[in-house]
C-alpha cells in the first residue's frame, strides 16, 4: 500500500511540475526576449533574429532614446498625470458612494445601488458614448477624455461597500454620531483611516487601468502633446510595421529606414519597466483584490 501511494505521488509530481514549468516559462519568456532585444546590437538582431540572450551586447537603442527623449518624456508625463489624477479622484468618489450605500440610515440606498448596478446589465455602447464625449462634452484633445471614461467602476463601489461594512462595526459609527460628528467627518476621520487596505487595493486596480489605457487615447486624442505612453508605443510599433510593408513592396523606398528593431524593444521596455519594477511589491494587493472581488462580485 505504501508503494502504491508513493508511485501515485511521483506521477502527480511529474505532471504538476512539468505543466507549471511550461506555463511559467510561457509567461516569462516574452519579457526575456524584449529585455534581450533592447540590449542587442541592431546588426545581431538582423542576423540572428530575437533571442533570449543578446548575441552582441549594446546599449545603442537606449542611447537613441536618450538622445531625443522629448516625446517619450511627454508621453510619460501625460500617463503619470492621468493615472494620478484619475485614481485619486475616482477613489474619493468611489469611497464616498460606498460609505453612503453602506449607511443603514440612508433612505433608498438599495434603489441607488440598483441604479448603479443596472449600468452593467444594459449598456448604451461605444457609439453614443463617443458622440457624447466629442459633440456634447466637447472634450476631444482634452486630458479629461483620458480620465473620465475610466473614473468610476460599479464593481469597485460594491466591493468597497461590503468591505467597509464588514470591517467597521456600526456601533463605532453610531458612537461618533452621538459625540456630534457629522457624516463627512465620520467618513474622513474614522472610515477612511480604517479602510486603508481596501483603498490601496482598489486604487492599484484603478491605477493599472489608467497606466495601460490606450483605447481612449485612440478615440479622443490626436494632439501630440496629449498622447499617453501606451498609445505612443502603439503608434510607434504600428508605424514600423506599415513602413516595413511599404519598403518591401516598393523597392525605390529602401532609403526610408524603419526605426530599428532594438529601438522598438527598448521602447517596450521603457513602457513596461515601471510595472515590472513595482510588481513584486504590489502583487499581494492585487491577489487579495481578486479574491475579495470573487467573493463579493
Amino acid at each position: 500500500m505504501h508503494y502504491k501511494l508513493s508511485k501515485d505521488r511521483v506521477v502527480f509530481s511529474i505532471i504538476a511540475y512539468s505543466f507549471l514549468t511550461i506555463f511559467t516559462l510561457c509567461c516569462i519568456l516574452p519579457f526575456g526576449f524584449v529585455i534581450s532585444g533592447a540590449f542587442s546590437s541592431e546588426q545581431s538582431i538582423l542576423e540572428y533574429g530575437y533571442s533570449l540572450l543578446p548575441h552582441q551586447f549594446s546599449t545603442a537603442a537606449f542611447r537613441t532614446i536618450l538622445a531625443a527623449p522629448g516625446d517619450i518624456l511627454n508621453a510619460y508625463g501625460v500617463t503619470i498625470f492621468v493615472t494620478a489624477a484619475g485614481t485619486l479622484t475616482g477613489l474619493l468618489i468611489t469611497a464616498m458612494a460606498a460609505y453612503v450605500l453602506g449607511r443603514k440610515c440612508f433612505p433608498h440606498r438599495n434603489a441607488v445601488a440598483f441604479f448603479f448596478y443596472f449600468t452593467t446589465i444594459f449598456e448604451g455602447g461605444i457609439v453614443p458614448k463617443y458622440i457624447l464625449m466629442i459633440r456634447y462634452l466637447g472634450i476631444k484633445n482634452n486630458l479629461l477624455a483620458l480620465i473620465l471614461p475610466l473614473l468610476i467602476n460599479v464593481f469597485y463601489i460594491i466591493i468597497m461597500r461590503s468591505t467597509i461594512s464588514a470591517s467597521i462595526p456600526d456601533s463605532l459609527i453610531e458612537s461618533a454620531e452621538i459625540d456630534g460628528a457629522g457624516e463627512f467627518q465620520i467618513f474622513r476621520k474614522i472610515v477612511m483611516p480604517l479602510s486603508k487596505p481596501i483603498l490601496a487595493t482598489v486604487g492599484l486596480f484603478m491605477a493599472l487601468e489608467y497606466w495601460n489605457d490606450w483605447f481612449n487615447a485612440m478615440l479622443y486624442v490626436d494632439k501630440k502633446s496629449l498622447i499617453p505612453l501606451q498609445y505612443y508605443l502603439y503608434k510607434m510599433l504600428s508605424q514600423i510595421t506599415m513602413l516595413r510593408e511599404l519598403v518591401s513592396k516598393v523597392p525605390q523606398l529602401t532609403v526610408v529606414t524603419p526605426p530599428e528593431e532594438s529601438f522598438k524593444m527598448a521602447m517596450t521596455l521603457v513602457t513596461i519597466g515601471p510595472i515590472l519594477i513595482l510588481y513584486p511589491f504590489v502583487q499581494k494587493y492585487f491577489v487579495s483584490g481578486i479574491m475579495v472581488g470573487a467573493v463579493k462580485g
Partner: protein
C-alpha cells in the same frame, strides 16, 4: 431636534453620493438614451436627438452587408471556447499549485503566471509581432534553426483562431486561478487527512474532494462569463491581430466591427445599429440566464 439633525445628516450623505450619481447619469444613462441613433440618420449639426428618424434603414443596411452574421458568430464562438479553455486551465493550475510541495517554486510560478494580467494589450500585440513576424520572429528563427522553412503567419488565416485562444488563456488564466486558489485553500484540511488515512492517493483526493468542493466557484465564474458571451474584448482582438484586414474573416468580432465602422467608415447609423443589437442580445441573455439560475438554485444568481 432629532428630526432636524436626521435631515441634515441625509443631506450630507446625499451630497457625498452625488458625484457618483451624476457620473452614471452622464456616462451610462445618457448613452443609453443615445441608442436611438440606431433609428436615425445622424448628422453632426442636429446631434443625437435632433437628427431625422429613418426607421429600420440602418438595420437593413447592416444585415444586407452580410458581415454582421459572421461577426456575431465569431463573437459567440470565441467566447464559448474561451470559457471552456480558460476555466479548465484555471482549475488545473490552481489544483497543481496547491498540491505541489516546493514552496519556492510555487511562489515563483504563481507570480509568473499572474504577470500577463498586468501588461497592456499594446505590449501583448508587440509580443505577438515578435513571435510571428516573418523576418525576425522567434518562431521562424526556431524553425530555421531546425532547418525548416519559415512560415508567414499573417497569410495563414486559420491559425489565428488558435493564437487568439492561447493568448487569451495566457493573459487571464493567472487571474482566474487566484480565485480558485482561494476556494481550494478554504477547504478543511482534515478531509484530506482522513482520505489519506483511508489510502486515497493524490489523484483520488483531487477528483473526490477538491473538484467537487469547488463546483460552486466554477458555476459562478462560468455564469459570469456567460453573462457577457456576446461581448468581444476589443483591445485583445484589435492588438493581437494588429487590426490586419487580411485576418478579419476569422478574427473580427462585434466590438472591432463597431469601432471600425465608427472610426474608419464614419458610419454612425450602421455602427450604432450593430451596437444596439449587441446590447439588447446581451441584456436578454443575462436576464434569462439569471432567471433560469434563480429558478433552480438561487444561491448562484448574479442579481
Amino acid at each position: 431636534m432629532r428630526g432636524k439633525g436626521y435631515k441634515k445628516r441625509n443631506r450630507v450623505l446625499f451630497l457625498m453620493l452625488l458625484p457618483a450619481v451624476l457620473y452614471f447619469i452622464i456616462f451610462a444613462y445618457i448613452p443609453m438614451t443615445g441608442t436611438v441613433l440606431a433609428f436615425k440618420n445622424y448628422n453632426y449639426i442636429d446631434g443625437i436627438y435632433g437628427s431625422p428618424w429613418n426607421g429600420f434603414k440602418n438595420f437593413k443596411f447592416l444585415f444586407n452587408g452580410g458581415k454582421i452574421f459572421r461577426v456575431a458568430f465569431n463573437t459567440f464562438a470565441y467566447n464559448i471556447v474561451f470559457i471552456a479553455v480558460n476555466q479548465t486551465l484555471q482549475v488545473i493550475t490552481a489544483v497543481l499549485l496547491t498540491e505541489i510541495a516546493a514552496k519556492r517554486f510555487r511562489k515563483i510560478s504563481q507570480s509568473a503566471i499572474l504577470l500577463p494580467y498586468f501588461i497592456s494589450w499594446v505590449i501583448v500585440g508587440g509580443f505577438i509581432y515578435n513571435l510571428f513576424n516573418y523576418e525576425y520572429g522567434s518562431v521562424n528563427n526556431f524553425l530555421q534553426a531546425l532547418g525548416k522553412a519559415p512560415v508567414d503567419m499573417y497569410s495563414n488565416i486559420g491559425a489565428w483562431k488558435y493564437i487568439l485562444v492561447l493568448v487569451n488563456a495566457w493573459k487571464w488564466v493567472g487571474y482566474g486561478s487566484v480565485i480558485y486558489l482561494a476556494a481550494i485553500t478554504g477547504i478543511d484540511k482534515e478531509i484530506y487527512e482522513a482520505a489519506a488515512i483511508e489510502g486515497a492517493g493524490k489523484f483520488r483526493q483531487i477528483f473526490s474532494i477538491t473538484l467537487p468542493l469547488i463546483v460552486p466557484q466554477i458555476i459562478t465564474l462560468v455564469l459570469l462569463d456567460v453573462g457577457r458571451i456576446f461581448k468581444g474584448d476589443f483591445q485583445m482582438f484589435y492588438q493581437v491581430t494588429g487590426n490586419n484586414p487580411l485576418l478579419y474573416e476569422t478574427t473580427d468580432v462585434i466590438d472591432t466591427f463597431v469601432v471600425r465602422s465608427l472610426l474608419q467608415l464614419q458610419d454612425v447609423g450602421m455602427s450604432s445599429a450593430a451596437g444596439l443589437m449587441q446590447s439588447v442580445i446581451n441584456f436578454v441573455i443575462l436576464i434569462s440566464v439569471n432567471a433560469v439560475v434563480k429558478h433552480f438554485q438561487s444561491d448562484y444568481a448574479l442579481f
